[in-house]
């Protein structure tokens, strides 16, 4: 019966729902998961790479993590082509702010600005919403390190730890149990790896299936966004005892 309210984004259903937005969130629920954790001295983002094939041309580009500006990065879950458009929009918005005010754009303002764009696609134009959820990690001088999660409806909020993509509810409840307020960046990495390994569908966890990035302050006081190399990810997996070698599965 509710099918007749599906096809246009600009209509509410009788129950007060926007079906297109909900269907967009369904699409994200099938995509590779991503987890973000806020710590005292940085923000950790970790993503599960869904597309792994020997034939894939490995390049230095990342699949899940993207730099928006020197002080903000994001992890994506959902339709990659939609994500590319939004990431480009976010990058241009950040540069426009810097051009006007000659200082980095505050993280929340950047998230809000991008979410305003996403909201537009749920209210007018007759175009479908973007099928992407984001986890934004950044630092600014007003509020320090921050983590934000946004979804296709254009809603966003700040989180201490959040998960998007496949099995995000399981990941979120695990994070709720294990997260402590005064967690350090290293502990956050460990927690993220642990939670991801438990909620990932695949049987073995290797550095090829993961992307790990951190936003932190260098000793000289500059914000740095660093993606861990596959080698360091492997080392971390071994160190925290999280890796499950493929041979063990039956």
């Amino acid at each position: 019966m509710s099918r007749r309210y599906d096809s246009r984004t600009t209509i509410f259903s009788p129950e007060g729902r926007l079906y297109q937005v909900e269907y967009a969130m369904e699409a994200i629920g099938n995509a590779g998961s991503a987890i973000g954790i806020l710590s005292k001295d940085g923000v950790v983002l970790i993503g599960e790479k869904k597309v792994t094939s020997k034939l894939l041309q490995t390049s230095t580009s990342t699949e899940k993590m993207y730099k928006i500006d020197d002080h903000v990065a994001c992890a994506v879950a959902g339709i990659m082509s939609d994500a590319n458009i939004l990431i480009n929009t976010a990058r241009v918005q950040a540069q426009r702010y810097t051009y006007a005010y000659q200082e980095p754009m505050p993280v929340e303002q950047l998230v809000q600005s991008l979410c305003d764009t996403k909201q537009g696609y749920t209210q007018f134009g007759g175009l479908r919403p973007f099928g992407v959820s984001f986890l934004f990690a950044g630092w600014d001088k007003n509020y320090g390190f921050q983590l934000y999660m946004s979804d296709p409806s254009g809603n966003y909020s700040g989180w201490k730890a959040a998960a998007i993509g496949a099995n995000n509810q399981a990941a979120q409840s695990m994070l709720k149990q294990d997260y402590k307020d005064e967690i350090t960046r290293e502990e956050a990495v460990q927690l993220a790896l642990k939670v991801l390994s438990k909620t990932m569908d695949s049987t073995s966890l290797t550095s090829e299936k993961l992307e790990l990035a951190e936003v932190f302050l260098t000793p000289s006081g500059n914000v740095k966004y660093q993606v861990c190399s596959p080698d360091s990810v492997s080392k971390l997996l071994l160190k925290f005892g999280v890796t499950q070698p493929a041979a063990e599965t039956s």
């Binding site: 230095t60 730099k67 500006d69 990058r91 241009v92 540069q95 426009r96 810097t98 051009y99």
Partner: protein
């Protein structure tokens, strides 16, 4: 009142052996009055690319900010720094966009390209590029700079000798120009390091 001579400036870039030097004066004036003696005319785009702007200071600042905007987006999308040749083309295109209401600046671009080959170029205020193998000059002291560089320049100078040559050329030229001076600011860039030095000349 000449718009290009409103603030006063002197810029020079010179090629050495696997290195380059880019230098500017430090005076910012409003016609005959000196406003600042520590004005930065040369900015770093990335570790191997420096960009100096002579002419009207407000246009120089705005143009620089626009180029940072474009370069930042390029870096994010291409995941690498812009080559000097590419950057020069970008500056030229941006200047030509304002063909009938131009920025009153003359840029000097200096960088290390592929295989650490030094690249320098200048252009006029509407983007006509001038590539040179030896040196490029810009600013109110440009005529003196042309003469000084032409006589002092030698090919394949090492960084230390290049620094001396650029400094002498700059200081002697700005001394003959009332609108530029108050010391010098020299960057000598090699593939491994960037040496920034302040010169003290006739402080007028």
């Amino acid at each position: 009142m000449q718009i290009f001579e409103y603030n006063g400036s002197a810029l020079v870039a010179m090629v050495g052996k696997n290195c380059f030097a880019i230098a500017s004066d430090r005076r910012l004036g409003v016609q005959l009055q000196t406003i600042a003696t520590d004005f930065q005319r040369i900015s770093k785009i990335h570790d191997r690319l420096f960009f100096g702007l002579s002419g009207l200071a407000t246009d120089a600042q705005t143009l620089y900010q626009r180029l940072v905007f474009r370069h930042k987006l390029y870096q994010l999308r291409e995941e690498r720094d812009m080559k000097p040749e590419t950057f020069a083309n970008l500056v030229s295109a941006i200047l030509y966009e304002k063909r009938f209401g131009p920025y009153f600046c003359q840029p000097v671009i200096a960088g290390l390209g592929d295989e650490d080959k030094p690249f320098i170029c200048t252009m006029d205020s509407i983007g006509a590029k001038e590539l040179a193998k030896d040196f490029v000059v810009a600013g109110t002291a440009s005529e003196s700079l042309y003469g000084a560089c032409e006589s002092m320049f030698k090919e394949d100078m090492e960084p230390e000798e290049l620094f001396e040559t650029v400094s002498q050329a700059l200081l002697s030229s700005v001394d003959r120009d009332c609108l530029s001076g108050w010391g010098g600011h020299v960057y000598v860039v090699t593939p491994t390091e960037v040496k920034e030095r302040i010169l003290k000349g006739r402080m007028d």
